[in-house]
Amino acid sequence: MAKINPKRTPMAEQPADKRRHNFDEVPYGYTPEQAMAEAQRCLQCKKPSCVGGCPVQVDIPGFIREVAQGNFLEAVKVMKRTNVLPAICGRVCPQEVQCEGACILGKKMEPVAIGNLERFVADWEATQPECVMCEIQPATGKKVAVVGAGPAGLTLAGDMRKLGHSVTIFEALHKPGGVLMYGIPEFRLPKAVVEREVNFLLAMGVELKLDYVIGKIKTIDELLNEYDAVFVGTGAGLPLFMGIPGENSLGIYSANEYLTRSNLMKAYLFPKYDTPIVRGKQVAVIGGGNVAMDAARTALRLGAERVVLIYRRSRDEMPARVAEIHHAEEEGVEFQLLTNPVRYIADESGWVKEVECLRMELGEPDASGRRRPVPVPNSEFRIPVDTVVVAIGNSPNPLIPQTTPGLATTKRGTLVVDPNTGKTTKRGVFAGGDIVTGAATVILAMGAGRVAAKAMDEFLRTGVW
């Protein structure tokens, strides 16, 4: 066996000075040769720790083995046994703390680029005339309703359909995908990729009803009259604001609004598309997570001259993925760390013109284990802005809990579920994703969908709650 290359095969990407002006995807993907070379670095461990690091337990060595030999079709088949959304996972999972973080090569050298390979396999399939169909079990006659076509709901829908159940997804928006569609920008996850993976579920026989706001047009109880089980995957869709003076000034967006306008409504193509978005020149983004990075990078692409990311802790505490922080900096986003906005100052028309901030320093660790930011007295300063995006998180969407008797919630408004089964406190109703955990990641939501699917299948077969 040839000596293993200690370095992973790099994936070519658009140069930063070019990509900050367009919405095209940043990395280009592997060529077949690059994919095979990278796959050949895999040690094919007998007890693969990478699989244990994956929330949906993809057979990682299995599909990589096929890629290494150039059997891409076989690789697709292996992949689809455990993951029906590989093109999405390959792009947005935090592999560095999951599969790649557990890769044994990583102890001495760079771990296998599992995410890149996953993406390659999915994208390769998309270039083929026909897609590989999953094996679908004989019809069970059981009907499942899924509320929300985001990562959790889509995963559960795929799993339940494979098991032979009839599945209907109800989505409130006019497009499926949830955060994959409205939240994550085109340059990180092309919407055509999301559509492709959703279309695969539809080809498997999953039914999708768009424009259905469950809790309004139908309650969960009404769904339970028609369906044998219901899965709630409605996400964490309620944006948080800081509640500081001037926050309702013109030009101040929640990240949800800013990203929804740009991604779902394609406002970056205004006036070809009808939904407008403010193309700010001086943009401040408040927050340090992946959503803040997405908003900052979107602002650059919309033509901002200066984008300042304001975060109250230091770089080490930033919840965003390292790769996203790196991409944002490369593209020219300025970081104002240890800084917290205290109020906004508007001009006479009500439009925001300055954000007043306080310097912070790190004190003792707080409940999250991170050092608590403490304001430095008399450190006020102002940053000129014409657009602000508040990306400090979301709380769960209250619509379903409010309209469903018997569904217990926590103090934070999340649904109470058994983490091993996704069972809520109401018989026949399962839940998973951000509505249970609060705002988290795509793959954790998918993992929750998978866990709930297993328990739901058992419930449908046995009738035991």
């Binding site: 006019h174 309620l238 309702n248 598309y273 009808d274 403010v278």
Partner: protein
């Protein structure tokens, strides 16, 4: 796709559509709204439900052609379809037997207040309705409103029909004639709702206004519709659209409604240019 069953022009630039929407028609209650998206490039437009006919599966919307999106909606004909219809959204009006209620509407607010007035009447209230328009040719739904009101007063700004003056002038007269008024409902332009609320506050009449801020998803997800009510920030799409008129920061609402004024102007110009193709359907009147 949602089919347009019937289309009527109610007044210049004001159109009514009856939509084939049985599920929404079954659930919609007075005070709620729907979101319409005409086509793939379209905006999500929030529109108050003007009526719901559950037995016929029909949902009625009335809109004024004020921007590109409503102009585009206005070009659709019977038998054609809109791409998306979402609803019912927002909280329904609080309908009780209050006693005597005054329903005040301005312009296109009239079809919006109609289901509320009807429900109030059915709940056993004495309903006094005041509907106001700029001039005679803009008067809408007079007979329908008369049918659900114990007393109907029509006002026009220029005096070309009914009483001359603003609805607030008429309202002041009604409030000062000695009859106890237990509640006021107001739907219309923001400035009208503000003036109505200031007036009813003087008379101590609890007042409900139906707000129309900019919306996007209209399900609580984006926060663009935030309004200040009693010093607190509320989302009109899920906490409203109806609020206590005495607590609403109308000035902030009016400012926020101007966020995209330049983009709206640009979109209308482009639209009119594109429709001005000489064919009859492409002509936008009014």
């Amino acid at each position: 796709m949602v089919k347009i069953l019937k289309k009527r022009q109610l007044a210049p630039q004001i159109k009514m559509l009856e939509l084939d929407a049985p599920e929404i028609a079954r659930k919609a209650q007075p005070g709620q709204f729907v979101v319409v998206r005409v086509n793939e490039e379209g905006e999500r437009i929030p529109l108050t439900v003007a009526d719901a006919l559950p037995e016929q599966g029909v949902l009625v919307i009335v809109f004024q052609e004020v921007g590109k999106s409503t102009m585009l909606l206005g070009t659709l004909e019977e038998g054609e379809a809109i791409l998306d219809l979402i609803g019912p959204l927002g909280k329904p009006s609080e309908i009780e037997r209050f006693g005597t209620v005054v329903c005040v509407a301005g312009g296109v607010g009239t079809p919006e207040i109609f289901p509320v007035a009807r429900a109030l009447k059915q709940a056993g209230n004495r309903v006094i309705s005041i509907i106001g328009f700029r001039s005679r040719e803009l008067v809408l739904m007079e007979e329908k409103m008369r049918a659900v009101s114990d007393e109907l007063i029509v006002a026009t700004d220029d005096g070309s029909y009914g009483v001359k003056g603003f609805v607030t002038d008429v309202l002041r007269e009604v409030l000062s004639r000695g009859e106890k008024v237990d509640r006021c409902f107001a739907v219309g332009p923001v400035i009208m709702m503000k003036m109505v609320s200031l007036l009813t506050k003087e008379y101590g009449v609890p007042t409900v206004v139906s707000l129309n801020p900019i919306m996007l998803d209209a399900t609580g997800m984006c926060g663009v519709c935030r309004v200040e009510v009693g010093g607190e920030t509320k989302f009109a799409c899920v906490d409203g659209p109806e609020f206590d008129g005495h607590k609403v920061n109308f000035d902030q609402l009016m400012a926020r409604l101007r966020t995209y004024v330049n983009e709206e102007k640009q979109a209308v110009e482009l639209f009119l240019k594109s429709r001005n193709c000489g064919c009859e359907k492409g002509t936008v009147r009014g």
